[in-house]
């Protein structure tokens, strides 16, 4: 399996161009390094220590400076050309627009539609259609974060009080991992998100599914769980479309069961982990804003039963 968080395994136009540029830099700098090593080796091993005049050295140093200048000029040009081409990558197509808002220590992801009903809000997971450029608007609520999806594109900071943006163009279907790259406090290490590149059809299906309100609970356990979640305990912070939960402090839970991970990439989204997370979020990710909710094991299992229906 190819690494899912690597700049060396590009799956997007930007990362691919950058990887190529890296090869060019590696080749050119490697050449210079080799020259330095050869000269140094010669200087160390040289046997005939004659009374060579400095004149030859002066000519050589001039040539060396010229060579460095040419090398640097070439690299600057290559860098600039790459930067330009990336800036215009996919400019002929209408980009998918979405907005990522970072906070300690998770990501809110929003696909704005014409109306609130056409708006998708999710968390810690981005879906992108293959081959269509995406433009991500970036904001931060608290401190500076940085969104880095190495397989697709280099990083961009999310800065409170400013709006930045990130453009990318996925070229390969797959599930990738992104992570916060700017130190953002206690749980900086646990601020990842999944980036899923779908085929256009899969993406359309995901979009349609995500626009639906949350399914109603069916079993008794699910109904009990629904009551707890939409009662005071969870809805103060979390939102679930189609219910009375409107909180905005924590991630939107409307499709929580469809996501691959929990707690911003920290845990696999499986029943056992979800249960443990609800039981004591502070033990798993100390300092995060979700408090320990006093629930009996039975209540917890009801909550989990309900949350698992939110696909």
């Amino acid at each position: 399996m190819s690494p899912i968080q690597s700049a060396l395994h590009p799956a997007g136009a930007h990362a691919a161009a950058t990887a190529t540029l890296f090869q060019i830099f590696l080749g050119v700098t490697g050449f210079f390094f080799l020259l330095v090593l050869l000269f140094l080796g010669w200087a160390i091993l040289r046997r005939d220590r004659g009374t060579a005049s400095d004149k030859r050295l002066r000519l050589t140093v001039a040539a060396w400076a010229m060579l460095i200048t040419v090398g640097l000029f070439g690299l600057t040009l290559a860098s600039y050309a790459t930067d330009r081409s990336l800036f215009f990558a996919g400019h002929d197509q209408k980009p998918l627009r979405l907005k990522v808002t970072a906070q300690q220590w998770w990501w809110e992801v929003r696909y704005n539609g014409a109306t609130p009903a056409q708006t998708i809000t999710t968390a810690n997971e981005i879906h992108l259609p293959l081959g269509r450029p995406a433009q991500i608007e970036l904001e931060a609520d608290d401190v500076i974060h940085s969104l880095w999806i190495p397989n697709l594109v280099g990083k961009e900071d999310l800065i409170p009080g400013r709006t930045t943006d990130l453009q990318l163009l996925p070229r390969q279907v797959g599930r990738f991992r992104a992570q916060c790259a700017e130190f953002c406090g206690l749980q900086h290490a646990h601020m990842a998100l999944d980036v899923v590149v779908d085929t256009p059809e899969q993406f359309a299906a995901w979009e349609a599914r995500s626009l639906q309100p949350a399914p109603a609970p069916r079993s008794e356990a699910q109904k009990r769980g629904h009551a707890i979640v939409t009662g005071m305990h969870c809805s103060g912070c979390h939102a679930i479309t189609g219910t009375d939960a409107f909180g905005t402090v924590g991630p939107d839970l409307t499709r929580v069961a469809s996501r691959a991970t929990l707690a911003a990439g920290e845990l696999p989204n499986a029943r056992a982990w979800l249960t443990r997370w609800i039981a004591d979020p502070q033990a798993i990710k100390p300092g995060n804003r979700m408090p320990r909710i006093p629930l009996t094991p039975a209540q917890r299992s009801d909550v989990v039963a309900y949350l698992e229906t939110l696909k």
Binding site: P3, V36, F39, W148, R162, A181, F183, L186, H188, P286
Partner: protein
Amino acid sequence: MTRVDGPDFSGDALHAALAKTWSDAPGFWGWLATVDHKRVGRRYIVTAFVFLGLGGVLALLMRLQLARPESGLISADRYNQIFSMHGTTMMFLFAVPVMEAFAVYLIPLMMGTRQIAFPRLNAFSYWIYLFGGVFLWIAFLLNIGPEAGWFAYVPLAGPEYSPGKRTDVWAQLITFTEVAALAGAVELITTILKQRAPGMSLNRMPLFAWSILVTSFMIVFAMPAVMLASSFLISDRLVGTQFYNPTEGGDALLWQHLFWFFGHPEVYIIFIPAVGFVSQITETFSQRQVFGYPLMVMAVVSIGLLAFGLWVHHMFATGLPRIGYSFYTAASMMIALPGGVQIFCWTATIWSGRPRWETPLWWVVAFIVTFVIGGLSGVMVASVPLDLQLHDSYFVVAHFHYVLIGGAVFPLLGAVTYWFPKFSGRLMAEPLGRWNVLFSFLTFHLTFFPMHLTGLLGMPRRVYTYPHGLGWDSLNLVSSIGAFLFAASVLLFFGNMVWSLSRGRAAGANPWNAASLEWKMPSPPPCYNFDHIPVVESRTPLWDDDRPVIPGLQTDKRELLVTTAIDAHSDLRDASAPPNAWPFFAAIATTIAFLGSIFTPWAVIWGALLMAVPLIFWFWPHDPLEPKPEQGDE
């Protein structure tokens, strides 16, 4: 009756007279009051190495934690403090001070003078540095150490997201170390420009002196930026100003601009003195003048200038206008030109000289190989598209450790080996020294080379742990093993120092047959440095057959020869301040004021009053023979 040195007053009688004038009182008081640049410099060096050790322990703790994924050894909170302390200690308490410390010790000897300019300010600078460092470490042990990184980005370091005293401690530590560094810079500039031996025109100055001159000017113009930035930060935190608060017109990027306007030159403030070490070592062990002296001077000066035009390359990911970025890319890459020329000149010096393969020269080889890798990875991060991938990843961690350890610590260890006989009168043990170079070189690369790959494979910096299965596990383990071995090699070096201090071979005045003036007097140097002030007629005075001196300085009071700034013509006789404990008390008062201001802004007022007392005593002449008051803390 005053007596001056000269043909009829020299030898043992002169020695006795000068020793009486220039020595410190015995005992504790003499220790406290000393202003001898060699004693202060030695203290400075030892203290900086202690902080290197402490910073190294922190590095090992981090490597222990990162040796395997999902390690629970160190909590997130502790880890964040540890890496903040590691960066702060290494940058502010080790790297910059140790370079100034070497300069404080060596520059007066190399310039041919009896004492550094403003010696009391120098003593004050050391005490402030010591108190600042001790204060930071005590705070850390009390669990109020810095937590927002050595770079303290706002808003994370601001009042809302870093409540408590931790970041205040960091901000005041900055004030301590900057006061110390700025004072040192002014002393060194004045010593280099005004106290050179007659005849040592600027174009005959040893390259180390050029390095220190450029470094000191960089300190003068770069350090105020971080003092200003941290003063804004602490006032945002303590009295509610809004410099960095985006909701009230402040801006988080103001911090980054100010910080990196200091922070980037800072890297060269560490590196340029190391360039000076390398030049001196290469000259001595190749037994020829460094090839391309004018080029080397131009290179150092141009690096010093260019360093102020690069800061934005730390901010490529902040979304500033694209067009501006191209300028910083070009400027950042351009710095490789003087760097490359220097590398060539050193290698050419070895190539065309008659090298003697003593340990310091092996450190130079280790430096060239390692530093060139760091420089070339620096060319990579100067490119905007590449930087957006590499920035804040382990690639950058690898890059700057190549530059800072390879580019500054290797030369520093070479410099210690080289000047150890001058400091102590004894040589460091061989062949242990040579094995040490090899061992350090290999283990360094074992530690840091894999980090390039770890970063390219997507691992960000400053994470206290990482998940299993992303391809980082074995690379991290290798780095951790390497780190412990590398630490062992540094320990070996320290061991060699301690052993050699009492058991090393006696060195004599000039064991390496070096050319610069610090090798003229016996080792260790007498308290007055030179019996007669040397007169310089070439770039390599000790390799000349003729070694004239100038007589006529008074011997019964501390007197220095002042020369003109460019040509070093003899111009004045200047008095040099005798020992005095007021700098120590002034440093205590300053420390109380700085610490107090963490808790109440009023400390700025009563602290200033408190500081005024020792300062007035410090500047006030004590007797009619007493020299002029120094301009110190205006």
